[in-house]
Symmetry: C2
Subunit: 231 residues, 2 copies
DNA sequence: TCCATGTTCATACGTTTGTTTAAAACATAA
DNA sequence: TTATGTTTTAAACAAACGTATGAACATGGA
């Protein structure tokens, strides 16, 4: 380990250590289930450090997400810009759009410097986090990106009602959320000791699997909606 | 309101009042985010009542789920028994199985006596709840039912690798979870003021929408898995 | 050297947490 | 009525919570 050079360097180091510890603990135990003392303990810093550097626990969790989401959503925007530029006006293929949004997300798992699997699992279970202010915060962070991808899907699937696309976007988010929430949640479906456990959580298998599923759902035949009263 | 007749009647009433309040509050604020004082306050009972009737907060939340899941999973078993009996050995259609598992769940929303939408939304966000002991508990409660439906899917889709089906079951759970987690989570995708808000959350629309999506995903073309190293 | 600035530290504050206690109130049956 | 078991009640408990404070320390420029 390299010695921190001096004041400002230690400063930045402390912030990062706190963010890393908070990310891991929020992932494991949730926001309300994680205490300041756990965070500062695991980070090896003083209890008061969080309030000094971030102001409050609420601000801390927001910074935990912002640190990763800023890059992710910028990247998603960049990818969509590039796709639309190459398409030169013609509508994109749904698979391109889905990969731009969800593929870009899942590929973060390979990048340990961007939070890797830890952040992905945290995000996966936080989109439907009980804590009101976190959901509100995430909704704001995602607003513009989701809006652009929604519009792209509208153009790519002109024959599908917009409300239908919105719902299917929502369903895709759910499937992806479970996909990355990881082996914890998978215990619901598998019997702990699955024969090919080793290959179950290979990331290079997860992405194509999820992508097939999402596209299958997105392009499914439209349901017959009974416009009258009861079903 | 009918007067409670006598001792045992008041007893049961207090228990039910606590369970109802806890269900609603856990749905709104999560397990860790809900205090005993909130629960007993909303239920209109004494603070000590929870510990007297249920022993602890952990036992309470387990009873909240058990009260609904017992019926749900029995019903799922019954439906699958019936389907397999009618099929008389021949494999079921995937749509029948999916409807038996997820349709039975969603149709609970119409039954206010079974918890209705409140319990559904609670369940939706609890399958990936951070609290370890809740996930463990749910995994146990679901074990046998999930196992039977998995087997049914294996038989219904003999050409699809079992690992693939397990994953897709998992994805379906995720999509369903988001579907029932309700309008809170939908804010991620919609712009608050959607034109046809009124029709967005009509339950008789949600079920066929979700079903199309799930079946589309379940029957999607198999992904090309790179059996070698990196993707 | 001195001061100013930024950071760390131990400690304490006021609340809130889940749970326990012992007495009171109640219901049931002899 | 008396005796017995069950349920409700107010009050208290220790522990943990997020946050605030002021002294100690380190650093860089004057």
């Amino acid at each position: 380990m390299a010695e921190p050079r001096a004041g400002e360097s230690r400063n930045a180091d402390t912030r990062e250590r706190i963010l890393d510890a908070a990310e891991r603990l929020f992932m494991a135990h949730g926001y309300e289930g994680t205490s300041m003392r756990q965070i500062t303990g695991e980070a090896g810093v003083n209890l008061a450090a969080v309030n000094y550097h971030f102001g409050s626990k609420e601000s801390l969790v927001q910074e935990v997400f912002r640190r990763r989401l800023d890059w992710l959503n910028d990247e998603r925007m960049r990818v969509l810009d590039e796709l639309e530029h190459e398409a030169a006006g013609r509508p994109l293929k749904p698979s391109q759009i889905v990969d731009g949004f969800f593929g870009t997300l899942l590929r973060m798992a390979d990048d340990e410097a961007r939070g890797g699997m830890t952040f992905l699992r945290l995000l996966g279970r936080t989109l439907i986090e009980p804590s009101e202010f976190i959901r509100t915060f995430l909704a704001q962070e995602y607003r513009t990106v989701v809006e652009r991808y929604k519009e792209a899907l509208f153009k790519a699937l002109p024959d599908v009602p917009k409300a239908e696309i919105v719902w299917r976007f929502h369903f895709m988010l759910g499937a992806t959320s479970y996909a990355i929430a990881g082996t914890d949640a998978l215990r619901l479906v598998t019997d702990w000791q699955i024969e090919d456990e080793a290959t179950m959580d290979r990331l290079d298998h997860l992405l194509p699997r999820l992508m097939s599923f999402l596209l299958g759902g997105l392009r499914a035949p439209l349901p017959q909606l009974n416009e009258g009263g009861q079903i």
